[in-house]
Symmetry: C2
Subunit: 189 residues, 2 copies
DNA sequence: TAGATGACCAAAAAGGTTTTCTAGTCATTT
DNA sequence: AAATGACTAGAAAACCTTTTTGGTCATCTA
């Protein structure tokens, strides 16, 4: 495996496990079995390395979501499939959970910035999907950006915030059902 | 005006303006024109004084919301009226805005706790209203607590979070329209 | 001699200590 | 009997010291 990939893998592992702030460049170098200086021949600095990894994650999310969608499927079934994929994604990709946590707890400026980028990317992606279904005439003509924003915030509230005030987390089924029953349902003509 | 009310007024003013942490008991005493010791003859401590004020605010919110609702009105019009009242309320009662801000920024434990109480009170109130309309058969049989929770989180996202990533805040009309168009609409049979 | 390396440095963060501030008390006053 | 504000203990802020860490670059190695 080439050194750059070695470093990316090591950094992803460490960021996912310890977060941005608690991950040191020395640590990454050690895990990747390279000298620290080597990292800097591939990545300008820690922040850029982090951003590249997060960008990779966003690409993967898009990929997974896109895969879950059937080109000729109805809005209802595709929305459901994509949502379920995103609920799964969360479980396998700890990085997503970790950075949202760190943004809330530690307030690391870099992380805050990156979380914003992620949110923006997700909203844009979802907005485009909504727009497509509006064009198709399958769903109502709504402010697609606002709806996309609302979907993201709802998702995060149910997935991350609910268990802060309640003993047990919501199951994927409960989350899926409530979103289906409210926002998705309201869109269908 | 009696001393207790004088103190409550002064404290409300100071908490609304500076938040919980930045308000000192000396300050409240000075504004209220009483000796600091006097505060402690009416209120056990700073925390209790704060809670009493917030409890008062919750009562007022309930009062306003209840007033906005017509006993024989449809779900649609009452939901809209109550939502508009809450959007107004926010403008006049800076305390609500302030404590939600302080909970996010400063993480003062007392404030965190109190915000939780407020949220719980609101969710319960909204849940009961939803249940009433389910009974009436005007809206679908949904998990009313979850929907109430979702409404609150949506409200807060649109009112507080949107402008963190966008140049201009959403207008009351935009907020009202989107909530109406999504969550409220999905409930109606 | 091109690419990798880790000792090195400046700057930031953590840790520890002193000073200031403030919630809450209570002896004195009204 | 009720109100007060000087007082205190403990919390928070400010300050200084030490350690850590991101980033560099002279040296090494293949």
């Amino acid at each position: 495996m080439d050194r750059k990939q070695e470093i990316l893998t090591a950094a992803t592992k460490s960021f996912s496990l310890f977060g941005y702030k608690a991950t040191t460049m020395d640590q990454i170098a050690k895990i990747a079995n390279v000298g620290k200086g080597t990292i800097y021949t591939f990545f300008e600095n820690k922040e850029v390395l982090f951003q590249e990894i997060v960008l990779q994650m966003i690409a993967e999310m898009k990929h997974e979501a896109t895969n879950a969608i059937k080109e000729d499927g109805s809005f209802q079934e595709n929305a459901h499939a994509a949502l379920m994929k995103m609920l799964e994604f969360r479980e396998t990709h700890q990085l997503f959970v970790k950075i949202i946590d760190e943004e809330k707890e530690l307030r690391t400026p870099t992380v805050q910035q990156v979380v914003q980028q992620v949110e923006q990317a997700i909203v844009l992606f979802v907005k485009e999907k909504i727009d497509k279904y509006i064009e198709k005439g399958e769903i109502r003509q709504v402010n697609s950006e606002l709806v996309a924003y609302l979907l993201l915030k709802t998702y995060l509230a149910l997935v991350n915030d609910w268990n802060l005030t309640h003993d047990e987390s919501l199951s994927e089924d409960e989350i899926s059902t409530i979103i289906q029953d409210t926002i998705f349902r309201s869109l269908i003509i």
